[in-house]
């Protein structure tokens, strides 16, 4: 079961990862990805807006798709919202499985899908003001390798 959560509080990656193996003896691999705020070009803070009514549902759909594709024993997707500072974690994806290939692939899939199908928007705060981040075509390309039509394209 891949658990999903959206929260304003800082992400505790270590706790989420250790929970995937606690009390189990069937897990042979845990792969995790944590995304952090970078202080690029004088960035002071990053604010994540989301669509609350849709977010958890979109994440649950993404998690269910990963579970259908790979034999995972567990997983966790945690996305932070609100204002955060350079060095703080924005997102955690962690997947456990018996063998490494499923954990690596499911984790990459979850991130690629999350980037293109979950309703979050980043705005960057610098000394000169605040700007919205523009979506990258490379994210659509990354999602396309899982043979999915990007949900956002017409």
């Amino acid at each position: 079961m891949i658990a999903v959560r959206v929260q304003a509080e800082p992400i505790d990656s270590a706790a989420a990862i250790s929970a995937l193996t606690a009390g189990r003896d069937d897990v042979g691999a845990v792969v995790s990805f944590t995304g952090f705020v970078r202080a690029d070009d004088g960035l002071v803070a990053l604010t994540l807006e989301h669509y609350p009514a849709m977010t958890e549902r979109a994440l649950a759909t993404i998690a269910a798709e990963a579970e259908a594709r790979w034999p995972v024993t567990g997983g966790s997707v945690v996305h932070r919202v609100g204002r955060m500072l350079p060095g703080e974690a924005i997102v955690l994806v962690a997947v456990a499985s018996a063998h490494r290939a499923a954990a690596f692939d499911a984790a990459a899939f979850l991130m690629d899908w999350l980037k293109t199908r979950a309703p979050f928007w980043k705005s960057e705060e610098r000394a000169g003001g605040t700007t919205w981040v523009t979506a990258k075509a490379s994210d659509d390309t990354a999602a396309a390798r899982w043979e999915l039509v990007p949900a956002q394209s017409d």
């Binding site: 994540l48 997102v91 980037k115 979950a118 994210d139």
Partner: protein, 84 residues
């Protein structure tokens, strides 16, 4: 009635988080709805003029502009997502 909700720069340009409006007569698709909304104010026009930069969800699912829109739905309008 339909419930419209706006996010990111779409919300900023329109100037409100959302609005509840009667479904305009003759609006059968999401595209029709966007055309009508763009005529409501200069802010709406500014938010919706660049159609290639607009994404829409009806009842919390992504849809294309030719998707039907019916009375009672929630229509969310926003830029391409940038989370993760």
């Amino acid at each position: 009635m339909i419930e419209l909700v706006y996010f990111a720069w779409v919300r900023e340009r329109i100037g409100v988080d959302g609005e509840i409006l009667p479904l305009p007569p003759g609006a059968a698709t999401v595209g029709d709805l966007l055309d009508w909304l763009a005529t409501r104010s200069p802010g709406h026009a500014a938010a919706l003029s660049e159609r290639a930069a607009i994404r829409v969800a009806v009842d919390q699912s992504f849809v294309c502009f030719d998707a039907p829109v019916t009375d009672g739905v929630e229509v969310a309008i926003f830029p391409p997502v940038t989370g993760g």
